[in-house]
């Protein structure tokens, strides 16, 4: 048996599901940590291998031979295309690094069992390449583990539950309407469905005025779980798979305008925050909205920019979140009102904090630089005001990041009787992300080329949907193996 022909993607999801079941039996947090970390690690290796198989060009039929999903589900639903191939291992990597960097003091609070369950849902979502009920179901299901997290922690759930109930309702009704139109995307039913789907995605992405659940979520969830729920940008994935191929221009323009307003608003809000978590939440909202802005423009360049920015957000905001989480593990919830003077305790953490923060805002030599350049370049061709707004958001985010850095790490030195230096596991996690951020920033061509291919594929899908509307070809997604 050729190991390249094994269904590694399915294995990664299966490992996460089985791991979740096993870890849920352990009461000892230390044991749960070791087993949980092992399962998340194995799952990550499987996704990495699946990505390698995809890029080596192994024919889909060879992989399908050993696949069990055709037998179980009647069709191959979970597979890779240009868009999802690098996303899935990145999501798995984020889970692995977050688990790895969990401090001993936080092990009891961090539920590895629910984290594995959420990872399984997320990996399945990101490998679901066809717009289908399965994808809709997975997106709906992904809202449950965070709810359980809030309940388990005894925190208020109303804000989260109300928004997610709205999201799931809009998503289900929207897709039901689109599905019932049977490929006729110009029908009233399909158009109504698209509008409902758009609304669902705006809720999930935290676009104003339905963004408050994101800040509330960061207020109440454990930080690691909070990062993992939002940073992979499942809402953007839903937009690309469900809305972008069929949405009329008006819908896309509405998404773009609202996202642009959110990007600037959230960037401004991040500057006035007094709590580090809320600052992070607004920073995330601003970047997630910038990704949506790129999608709305519908040109190959803007889509490439958007997809590059998506990657940059995952890596840099993931790393930034882990650096902030490492601080929280030592000092508790961090206020950014007064200067805390933490540099002396952990210079490495300060450097990683600044590096990942600057990568978010597109500083040269980091992964965010070229994506911001591409986004600004594509925005100016579309509308100069759009370009000004994107630049304003980027500039404000940059100010917010350095302000947070100065408030947390400078000022009169904080005195402690114990060492507060960054731990080995945290260092590995943050340095891995830092290496990816710098590597992607210094050698961006492979990443950009891959995202351009994905952008072309998305636009091709949209074209096919338009052709299907005129009856020349059926509306179907395409799964490409190189």
């Amino acid at each position: 048996m050729n190991p390249l022909h094994l269904p590694w993607l399915e294995l990664s999801i299966a490992v996460a599901i089985v791991g979740s079941a096993i870890v849920s039996r352990f009461r000892d947090p230390n044991r749960a940590y070791h087993w949980g970390l092992a399962c998340i690690g194995v799952s990550f290796v499987c996704t990495l291998w699946a990505w390698l198989v995809y890029y080596l060009g192994v024919p889909a039929e060879d992989v399908a031979k050993y696949s069990v999903q055709s037998r179980l589900l009647g069709a191959r639903i979970f597979e890779f295309d240009e868009l999802s191939a690098p996303l899935v291992p990145t999501v798995a990597l984020l889970h692995f690094l977050t688990a790895l960097a969990t401090a001993r003091t936080k092990m009891r609070r961090y539920s590895f069992s629910w984290s594995l369950a959420a990872e399984a849902i997320r990996l399945a979502t990101f490998s679901c390449v066809q717009p289908s009920w399965m994808l809709v179901g997975l997106l709906a299901a992904s809202t449950l583990p965070p709810y359980v997290e809030l309940v388990n922690r005894g925190r208020p759930t109303r804000v989260y539950a109300l928004h997610m109930a709205l999201f799931v309702t809009l998503l289900v009704f929207g897709w039901a309407a689109v599905d019932s139109a049977q490929g006729d995307i110009s029908s009233i039913r399909a158009q109504l469905g698209t509008i409902l789907l758009m609304a669902a995605i705006l809720v999930r992405c935290g676009t104003i005025p339905v963004h408050c659940w994101v800040t509330d979520w960061f207020e109440h969830a454990s930080f690691g779980i909070a990062i993992l729920y939002v940073v992979p940008l499942s809402g953007v994935y839903a937009a690309v798979r469900l809305v972008l191929p069929i949405a009329p221009e008006l819908v896309l323009r509405s998404i773009g305008l609202m996202s642009l307003a959110t990007a600037v608003y959230a960037a401004g809000m991040s500057i006035v925050q007094r709590d580090a978590r809320r600052f992070y939440a607004y920073l995330f909202l601003s970047h997630a909205s910038l990704v949506l802005v790129g999608l709305e423009l519908r040109t190959p360049l803007s889509l490439t920019a958007s997809l590059c920015l998506w990657f940059s957000v995952m890596l840099s905001l993931g790393g930034f979140g882990l650096a902030l989480r490492a601080l929280e593990a030592r000092f508790g919830r961090m206020s950014i009102v007064k200067y805390q003077g933490l540099y002396g305790h952990s210079p490495s953490l300060a450097v990683c904090f600044l590096l990942t923060g600057l990568a978010c805002v597109g500083f040269p030599a980091t992964v965010g630089f070229i994506s911001t350049e591409l986004l600004v370049d594509s925005a100016v061709e579309f509308n100069s005001l759009l370009c000004v707004a994107v630049l304003a958001a980027t500039a404000l985010n940059g100010i917010a990041v350095v302000r947070a850095y100065l408030l947390l790490f400078t000022g009169a030195r904080h005195v402690s009787a114990v060492s507060l230096e960054i731990g080995v596991r945290e260092r590995i996690a943050v340095l891995t992300l830092a290496a990816l951020i710098l590597g992607g920033g210094l050698f961006p061509q492979p990443g950009v080329s891959s995202r351009y291919e994905a952008a072309e594929q998305i636009l091709e899908r949209r074209e096919r949907a338009k052709i299907a509307e005129t009856g020349q070809a059926p509306f179907r997604g395409r799964t490409a193996h190189k």
Binding site: V272, C352, T410, H414, P444
Partner: protein, 469 residues
Amino acid sequence: MPDIDQVVKSLGIVVVAAPLLLTIVLGISSLVGRKLTEEATTRLGHATIVVGLLASITILGIMLAGGSRHIPIELGNWVMIENHHHEHIYHFSVKLVFDRLSVPFAILSLLLSGTIGAFASQYIHREPGFNRFFVLYAIFVLGMIVTSLAGTIETLFTGWELVGLSSTLLVGFYQERPAPPRNALWVWVVYRVSDAALLLAAVVMHHLRGEGDFDKFLGQRPWPEQLSSLDPLYSLDPRQALLVGLLLLVAVAGKSALVPFCGWLPRAMEGPTPSSAVFYGALSVHLGTFLLLRISPLLDLSPGLSAIVVILGLTTAVVAHLAGSVQTDIKSALSFASLVQVGIIVTEIGLGLRYVALIHLLGHACLRTLQFVRAPTLLQDYRTLENAIGEHLPHGRTGIERYRIWLYRWSLERGYLDPLLSEYIVFPFLRVFRWCDGMERRWTDFLAHGASRHSDQVPSRLGGIDELA
């Protein structure tokens, strides 16, 4: 016999690679927690700067010997996107230009950086921030070299950002004191505005010409020759030229501390003296004027833009002179003295005196570096002079004393420029967003049926073991 072009290209790469190597070695060793010793850091710093300086001087020699005034070095596309028809839909090319503007500025940057590197290795010897200083120093030198040799506006922007970040962090170098971090944030905000304007100008240039390449935008005439009707820029609408020019002028004003952004320069003096000397007194403050010289063909196209440049330069010189007259500490006085000269240089550029401006810039940078480096021993120098002449040095009246008291106060408050920016831009911005924050709180409290913000209970300072030194 090696091809002369190939030699120049190799030397050009060495000029950029030397500070890049310094940045990589110091940066990575710090990131992984394996800092170099002071001696190794100093030696590496000296070696890389000397190599870069020798390479750039050799290039200057080759240019003078061969009579070439403009040597572009294409390093290829850093990023390129091609469609299925193999047409470029995007490219980010890396190109260096060696001409009469970039070579003197690069040599100046390396020369002063090298001098200050040697000075700093003694000045901050055994200080806790030694390694941090040299990491930022390396980033600064790299940024200066990339900016001065940039052949495309995207490359220039890369260097510009590196200079901005390193300068900001150096202003906040003495981070345990209260003032430096605050001033660093102010400097950073001004730099971000400047960066955004530059990026916007770059994008508009790209949009108008499809190229960010200076040669293709401004024409291939060697600097500082006037525009001719054959140059691509000549076909540009004067309004378009004015738009690009104004955006660039905002970038220049931010970086060179021109009115209304001149308040950041005295704030930047919170940094250690070596960084004040080289970064704000000599190099960083001239970066804006360098950009203005680089895009000076644009000024030929728009007399209105030239007039604005002249007015801006003169205003800055006058404000800086008045503010500098009433300063009571040597570094602030020197910073305003620098600003007076920068204002005059900007005026010269606006008047089309480009060689004069370049020579003024080079001479001023060297003089000011010397003055800044001597600043900590000013009293000692005075005493030596007074001992030598056998009497007290004459204390001249400041010219401002002759004016009315309000002008004195106006000068003392540095033209009220910082309060104006705070009152009309910063505070309204903060008020609007704080109001939004309050409204969000009311909304989430309503949805949650109670207090929704756990963060309200977070103390503003770290608790428990929090004992501030």
